[in-house]
């Protein structure tokens, strides 16, 4: 059965993909037309952070309820989040090439934070694959998931605010501020965020159902 929010996801993403290119945007120095990346890059990161948060919530749920279903969902959400990191990185690199003149810089706490987030989740999957017993794996993975998420949160959210960063939204660089995001852009940005988050939920929904069915089949 096709649910309404899946249709909404398709419509919103199609709308923002097209209208993101056409919408009137403010002409800012250095940024110029690259400001349109706000409609693609930022919502994709939002979807990734959303999925990783989802994963942590279910990790906590697993620890309190001790059910395997939460663990499966937590694992699938982490996979979906990592999947969204790829387009997020690509769009970010493209944008950086045209505004900063380089694909990647190690100077920036936000970029480093993303690299570390990816490493953390790769470590999470390696940890999962190295334990055979299902319940034991679920519990240990949940513990690592929670701990790693908090450290990542510190890295991405708190450290960039204390050090200088070139990334928009830090140190006076244009981003979400009241000067940049005018009403025309809001009409694209907010639907884009909702659309990409819904899409990530859809992917998670399919993956989750498949994983639960596979689990049931293996148990028989």
């Amino acid at each position: 059965m096709i649910k309404w929010w899946k249709i909404a996801a398709v419509i919103l993403i199609l709308y923002t993909l097209v209208w993101g290119m056409l919408a009137p945007v403010p002409k800012l120095n250095i940024l110029y037309e690259t400001i349109r990346n706000l409609f693609y890059h930022v919502p994709i990161w939002f979807a990734m952070i959303f999925q990783m948060g989802y994963s942590v919530v279910f990790a906590i749920r697993h620890l309190s309820k001790n059910d395997l279903r939460s663990d499966i969902i937590s694992n699938q959400a982490a996979q979906t989040g990592l999947f969204f990191a790829l387009p997020g990185l690509l769009t970010g690199c493209m944008w950086a090439k045209f505004t900063w003149g380089t694909w990647w810089t190690f100077e920036d706490p936000k970029l480093n934070g993303v690299a570390i987030a990816i490493l953390i989740y790769l470590a999470y999957f390696i940890l999962r694959s190295s334990i055979d017993d299902e319940l034991k794996r679920a519990r240990i993975a949940a513990v690592y998931n929670i701990f790693a998420f908090v450290m990542m949160f510190v890295f991405i959210m708190i450290l960039p605010r204390l050090t200088d960063s070139l990334h928009p939204g830090n140190g006076g660089n244009p981003a979400f501020g009241k000067y940049d995001l005018d009403n025309d852009m809001r009409m694209v940005f907010y639907p884009a965020v909702i659309g990409w988050v819904l899409l990530s939920l859809w992917i998670l929904d399919v993956k989750k159902r498949l994983a639960i069915l596979t689990h049931k089949k293996n148990e028989e």
Partner: protein, 219 residues
């Protein structure tokens, strides 16, 4: 939680460590050898940034190596005994505090040998030692939990490194920044916020480790 029990557990860790002198001696040789190799390779380090980076990389590898064994000696029988007699919070806290003390001592030793062989560039010693102290305590908090996780996952040593390096990174970057300030001899008013972050991270790490260890423990 029982403070008497806690101090007994910490004492037990020290007793075990000193009874088995080979591991402690092994760590010392490891430190001296690593520092000596880097002194030979780099000959003379001129840039403060390079000096700093090299020091922290050595420090990170030493801490991961030292703490990786903190749960590996817990055999199945011992684990069951501990599980019956102590509660999880006391047990992990004893491990963390013991690791903190050990790591603080080892980091001082590393710093001593490093400044001897490679040469010292630090201008503000007080700040540098504070950075060293707080980062080694935060490191030991993270690594105690990671060691517990790795020990549950078939005691895989490479797994320990894989799990802990990305998680240590935020800590490491703050410590590198703070110690760079100490090397350059910047005023305390510039660097106090990094010290504050380090202390805050200490609290977060220890709180999380004590909370989460409870779930790791039950089989």
């Amino acid at each position: 939680m029982n403070t008497q029990l806690l101090s007994q557990l910490i004492k037990k860790e020290f007793l075990l460590e000193f009874r088995q002198k080979s591991t402690l001696a092994g760590i010392l040789v490891y430190i001296v050898a690593t520092v000596f190799i880097s002194a030979l390779c780099f000959k003379k380090v001129i840039q403060p940034a390079v000096w700093n980076a090299l020091f922290w990389v050595i420090f990170m590898f030493i801490t991961v190596n030292v703490s990786s064994k903190s749960f590996m000696q817990e055999t199945k029988g011992k684990g069951l005994y501990n599980y019956l007699y102590y509660n999880a919070r006391t047990f992990i806290l004893s491990k963390i505090i013991y690791n903190m003390l050990l790591m603080a001592a080892l980091s001082m030793l590393t710093f001593f040998f490093y400044s001897w062989f490679v040469g010292s560039m630090v201008q503000d010693f007080g700040m540098f030692l504070l950075a060293l102290l707080f980062s080694s305590s935060a490191f030991s908090g993270v690594l105690s939990l990671m060691s517990a996780i790795a020990s549950k996952a078939n005691n895989n040593i490479s797994l320990m490194a894989i799990l802990s390096f990305p998680v240590l990174m935020p800590l490491l970057l703050v410590s590198v920044k703070l110690s760079k300030h100490a090397i350059d001899g910047l005023a305390w008013s510039v660097s106090y916020k990094y010290l504050l972050i380090l202390i805050m991270l200490n609290i977060v790490v220890v709180a999380l480790a004590t909370l989460l260890f409870n779930y790791l423990w039950k089989e």
